[in-house]
């Protein structure tokens, strides 16, 4: 059965629904699709990234990415609190700066 026909496959802007499926579809570049099993995600250490992205999408923090991922068990995804605001793209990218790791390694080497 094509993954798109599985009952829980997310459509655009749909919220993640409870329950794992066996495969996660990663479509980073348009026209390029990588289908990885859950086990492969674990082995390639991409599981945290995928969960993070789906959590963010499910919480409404990032729109437009839900179609790129499958769905996860949402039981442990916290609902946004009133004081939490969706991060801007700049804030998100700043969170993913590798500079502090590099600096810490250089400091250790000094």
């Amino acid at each position: 059965m094509p993954i798109e026909d599985t009952p829980n496959f997310l459509k655009d802007n749909e919220q993640a629904k409870p329950g794992w499926i066996d495969e996660v579809v990663l479509e980073f570049r348009k026209g390029s699709r990588d289908i990885l099993t859950y086990k492969q995600l674990e082995e390639q250490k991409m599981l945290a990234m995928t969960q993070t992205a789906v959590k963010a999408a499910s919480s409404g923090y990032i729109s437009g990415h839900v179609e790129n991922y499958a769905f996860v068990d949402t039981s442990d995804i916290p609902a946004p609190t009133p004081e939490q605001k969706p991060q801007t793209p700049s804030e998100q990218i700043l969170r993913h700066s590798s500079e502090w790791m590099r600096r810490s390694e250089l400091d250790l080497a000094a």
Binding site: K45, M49, A53, I93, L94, S98, E99, M101, A109
Partner: protein
Amino acid sequence: MSDIFKKALSLLTGSPTAPKPLKMPKNRPFKKLTERELLNLESQIGASLFGLIPKGHRREFFCLDERTWIWHEEWKDEKGAPKATTTRYEVHDNGILKVQEGAKYKYIEGEELQNMLVATRMYYEQVARNIYNRDPATGKKLS
């Protein structure tokens, strides 16, 4: 040429010949690696995030500092003349500014912005784990 471009290019090219790709040391003797070498390692990961690199092209993509990301690509045109382009993505509070020499500066939006968001997230995850042996979620060293 602006100072930031000079710094980025000097870190990239340093010597007249392009450095050979670094192999990851098994025991990661970071005490022997310079900032440039660490950036080269990060860039090897960054370059792989955007799919296949066209034949004959050399690509770099890395986080230069907290507010600057660099995309650099080199190739040869049909006459064999070397070509290169360096794009700087500046992280401002009000958006991500795309800076290219000879082109109008603009804030990226739409699909380009979404791709940048995903790329930086993937970059951070893979660089944290594979180069700095850190858990990207907590920032702590992995056992």
